[in-house]
Symmetry: C2
Subunit: 194 residues, 2 copies
Amino acid sequence: MQEQTATMTKKRMPLNGVDVPTLFATIDAVRNQPELAKFQFRVSNRWVSGTNSQSRIESFSGAGGEQKHATAFQFDADHPQVLVGRDQGPTPVEFLLHALAACLTAGIGNIAAARGITLTEVESTVVGNMDLRGILGISDEVRNGYEKIRVEFRIKGDAPPEKLREVVEQSRARSAVFDMITNGGPVEIGLTAG
Amino acid sequence: MQEQTATMTKKRMPLNGVDVPTLFATIDAVRNQPELAKFQFRVSNRWVSGTNSQSRIESFSGAGGEQKHATAFQFDADHPQVLVGRDQGPTPVEFLLHALAACLTAGIGNIAAARGITLTEVESTVVGNMDLRGILGISDEVRNGYEKIRVEFRIKGDAPPEKLREVVEQSRARSAVFDMITNGGPVEIGLTAG
């Protein structure tokens, strides 16, 4: 009984930099008011030259209204010189791997905190293999995207390996980016020309 | 005949910041030596705190060997305060939209140049709608990822709207990120714990 109380107290304390009480309060609020869960994320992009473009990320909507990031973020993407670009930023497909690593890692931080597990290290490498004959239009038998992506985590914390494994598994099961990259979804493209 | 010669000369000149002769030479080289097309892209990510992590993008392999970007790129991702994060960077799902915009735009730059079309402006907004009851674990009937993504391009160049539309369509048909986000692909996750 004493142990159970101690565990419950631990679970509702801030941990791993996660404000666990506010996280649970947020989940409760959304459960009671599902319309708060409707979010729209946005990026505006401007072509610079060649394969180089720049995106701006500033506003989004959700939690019942318009929201703004604390600062506006800007990122260049480009192709490297070996792919006839000017290397002004990572390639779009590298940003995709970054999105995947960051999504799974954010989930690991949240879920470990909610379960009362203190993390001391979460590192990952993400590699994606691609045959460029797809995007270069050389072969119709080769897909444009990655043939395979592999994520390798190294995690240290005050829980046995099996518990850390369950945290990673739960993060995978609730990751927005993992869902998009493994299952796909509808994308519409519109154009105003001239 | 004179017109045809002029057109062909135009097509093989650098245009839109794209080194068109080198682009065609690269495609020819890959056609003759398909192993040059095998690329591996990589990201290493390190958890900082809470939902904040940082990715480093530096090396990749392809074109027959190990390659490095001119500089190492680093990016923070985080959740915003309304989602109990500290807003140290865009969310992972915003980076996904950035990857999509940048991939389609790089293709538009290359394809327009290859077709002898001078572009003066390519802008896009990408919006993605998501019901967060999925990732918050409130409803199993709601997916984790975007329900729908919409990309809206505004393009100006020295070609009629129909030709610009064909450029966008060809970019979509050969985009690595569009392929991943609409069709998905295999992702493996490994873990070394403790």
